[in-house]
Symmetry: C2
Subunit: 386 residues, 2 copies
Amino acid sequence: MHEINVAGFLANLLVILLSAKLFGELAERWGQPPVLGELLGGVVLGLGLFGFRPGDPALALMAEFGVILLLFETGIHCDLERLLAAGPASLAVAAVGVALPFALGWAFMSALGRGGMQAVFVGAALTATSVGITARVLADMGRLDAPEAQIVLGAAVIDDILGIVILSAVQGVAESGALSWASVARTALLAAGFLAAALWLGPRVSRSLVGVVRGMRVRGVLIVSAVAFAFALALLAHAVGTALIVGAFTAGVLLAGTDRREDIDGALRPLADVFVPIFFVMVGARVSLGAYNPLVPGNLGMIALALGLAALAVLGKLASGWAVAGRGLNRLAVGAGMIPRGEVGLIFAQIGLSSGAIDAPLYAAVVGMVVVTTFLAPPILKRALA
Amino acid sequence: MHEINVAGFLANLLVILLSAKLFGELAERWGQPPVLGELLGGVVLGLGLFGFRPGDPALALMAEFGVILLLFETGIHCDLERLLAAGPASLAVAAVGVALPFALGWAFMSALGRGGMQAVFVGAALTATSVGITARVLADMGRLDAPEAQIVLGAAVIDDILGIVILSAVQGVAESGALSWASVARTALLAAGFLAAALWLGPRVSRSLVGVVRGMRVRGVLIVSAVAFAFALALLAHAVGTALIVGAFTAGVLLAGTDRREDIDGALRPLADVFVPIFFVMVGARVSLGAYNPLVPGNLGMIALALGLAALAVLGKLASGWAVAGRGLNRLAVGAGMIPRGEVGLIFAQIGLSSGAIDAPLYAAVVGMVVVTTFLAPPILKRALA
């Protein structure tokens, strides 16, 4: 046990929590979403202050624990019936919101004379929404029950699944140079099967779970069982090839339909309060500001490319929200909720880089695009909802 | 980020939480403290079921986070005035409870013809109480406010400090063969200085902290600040050479004196519910049952030695509780609360082993003594308090 550095780990956690609340409070006072402050706090820590090491695997695991709790909590605030009612709109927003940015990215790269595989990877990296930021802004504003929120959350789940399907296609192309329709179909069916099974069997499972827990006497059994249920569904989603957070979100939606919803929500809140900021601070801390120093020769072209891709990323999602969301809805909010890109986009870029399809400056530009969307989304979404 | 195995980590956490609640519930139904069930659940996991790896450093850090939350929560349930009022009794119980087991261990080893350094290390390993088990049993029984609980908790804090002082003495002997009084005095003064400063400045600091937090608007700021305060005091205690958990306990006692005690306690509860069982399951999982198989040749002598040391460990603490705790108190409960040995005892054994002062079978016997006291303390303490 004594080879692990408990004090160093606690010191890192302490610095993360303090900077999250300090910068979050500053953001709040300047009328910005607190999550923007947490991201900025992370960027500051990422500069290497306080001996902070963003690469620490234990901190990365705490951050993942945080984003799982965030999506679980988001699910608990959702109503399955309303989510299903918003289903067709979500599906349309997700489909157009994947197709349009892909087409824009592909066309942009082709216009720059960098067509073929480069254009495919860049287009793919522009597709997948990262729902964490949006969920957090909606929760902070107390707007998770708005119809726009239901559409965006449903679309983000579908979007995540589409992203995984595209990923399996792109991965096949990168490995064998040819598209494997069988593998793509298998990935799509598994993900759809998970969602269908969760929605069909889930309510019965979650109700029996609550029944079993009711008969138990030991302290803390409700919150521990709820967290265990979220972990179990996250692992199940992961096992069928979907994202962990899709499973955690589904677990939340299912428990929202039980009569212990309020108790679970109340007990989950302090857990989320402590762990969710760790995720956003770590996202900020992984931004290497130095890589985007415009004074370094050769960086300017990459920065221009990153800004161009970011503009396409923002416009592509705003346009799909505008085009597809029904009348009487806040279309700007729907589009803005889809702006943040995240892990899936970065995975595309990494596969492209390691397979040689894209080069290092283009990789840095894609990472820059992800960072810009992450930082732009909270203020745009907040303004759209205000 | 993708070199870290998030799914594997979640799967381990899931298995830990489920076994904690399953075995905890069984223990509760059999009239035993739930913590005993969690320890047993850990032993079962430690057999290698479900691909569980107790050596995972991220899990070890989660466990440490759990024990820090446990002592923090224990502190919040303490009243500084009553703790100070119990101070003289605590000091007496701690002093006799360190001296008597040391003398018993030393005499026992000398009687076996294994005097000198071996007897010193074994005596030292018998001294330090591990307060986690006791705090958990008292909390589960809702008896943290009993006068016996105040004496035991105060004594455990003093005991932990005495343990660190003895450790610095023994470490000096192991390294140089001679006792360094200067180093021992320095360790003792730093630890006493930390406690004095915390008790003197602490109330003012904790009240201004609560004042600052009251002026902040961002979500979750109270619980995050409370946890950050606990981390900060734990790190401060560690920096002056005392244990992290002494600092976390002190932070809890100080916040208990503020007007946000109830709010902090309520928000801390779900955090403790999830993380504290991880600590006890991991303690159980680190027990290598195989090492104590009586059928393996040569193990029998070691097992007899372990049982002899465990008997001395239990009797030594019970006798000091009996001799020193004042009239009108439940003396058996005071002694029983001091029975569990833990990390500090294991550190003594490890230093003895690595310096060559004790051999491998004697090391295994000391570890066995720690395990036996850990498992015996909860039922004895529960019966004493019933």
